[in-house]
Amino acid sequence: MKHSRLSRWRIGVQSGFLLAWLDPFMLRMHGFCSPVFHCHSCPLATLACPIGILANCSAIHTFPFIALGAIVFTGALFGSLVCGWACPFGFLQDLLGKIPTPKFELPAWAGWFRFVVLFGLVAGIPFFFGEDSPLFFCRLCPAGAIEGAVPSMVRQAVTGQPILWPSMVKAAILVTFLASSLFTRRPWCTLFCPLGAMYGLFNHVSFLFVRFQPACCTDCDLCHKTCPYSKRSEGRASDLRCVRCMECMQCNALTIGIISRSDGAADRKT
């Protein structure tokens, strides 16, 4: 199966962004948020995690202007492109998904659970019960377990400090998602990611979008086979679960659109 021109670059771009999030210049600018899901407890985190900041600001009843501003700005420009090309946790799932194991599809309605996580665990639980609640999002987050807890434990072991183990619940959730990544594509992104839920909303209105040209479509189902979420091409441009990985652009009927260039019937479909 041939790769689209863009998707060939994806692993390289994801690797580059991973290095950027791992604070190569030791800046530790935790006063500002990154646009991706990267735990600020990681000893090498450049920026703060936007979901962690949203949850903590909800707990202290303070409006998070910086975090929301970063999310809105990034979403307006790129939509969920950051999910497919910049997010380190998504990158990890993509790498695990490359292992040749049988893959299963998740039902389409499962993506709505991300909004339950967003409004429940990120906003509601911290607001009403504080950060000490066992359901506080950061106490469950698998990205925090692998990006924050594991490197911290390594650093504590190397420096001879007492090791602080993550909670059993957090570790179990991490193992569950890592194992699931072997059998379905991007299970965290599909089912639980609150940040992906927000970026998916911007897919309707972002500058960058996926354009479907029905005149070029031959009903070959290539888009169905290559898409991690197996969505039909017609609904792709505004699909809430689309991570804009551009894998579907192996087909000539799907291209990248920027802002507006009228394309007649194609734009009517999107």
């Binding site: 935790h30 600001c57 307006a76 209105v205």
Partner: protein
């Protein structure tokens, strides 16, 4: 066509500007009050119990409990006067904890949040530590 242009140009442009404006406001203008605790050392003068009075009246001929005491004089009647020592003070250092409110801008507040340094109690933001900032997020 107009709807397409509106959706594809005006809406994302408006949202992008809103995002920038929110980030700028949060970084430079938004601040909240955080109450911290600080140990303050003060010096105090603590009064010491005065020396017990000489209750023995009578012909002591100028003698007092402490021996010949020039401060206790005779009043001419042969009876000794009651000696009274002046109250004494001792200087002591006392440490007390004072609440210190401080206005924090959002970037520094976010840095504190990433290490669990701020909590919400009784309608106020309070620092969870005194002295050195915690190193790790508590979750």
């Amino acid at each position: 066509m107009r709807r397409q242009i509106f959706r594809r140009l005006i809406t994302p442009l408006f949202l992008a500007c809103a995002g920038i404006a929110a980030t700028i406001y949060g970084a430079w203008f938004h601040c909240v009050q955080v109450i911290g605790e600080k140990e303050i050392e003060e010096t105090k003068q603590v009064p010491v119990q005065p020396a017990p009075k000489n209750l023995l009246a009578g012909d002591l001929s100028g003698s007092s409990v402490w021996g010949n005491d020039s401060s206790s004089g005779e009043d001419g009647s042969g009876k000794a006067t009651v000696s009274q020592s002046e109250p004494a003070f001792v200087v002591e250092k006392v440490t007390r904890v004072a609440e210190v409110p401080k206005m924090e801008f959002e970037p520094s507040l976010l840095r504190e949040l990433t290490v669990g340094g701020v909590t919400f109690q009784a309608g106020e933001l309070r620092r969870t530590y005194r002295g050195d900032t915690p190193a790790l997020c508590p979750t």
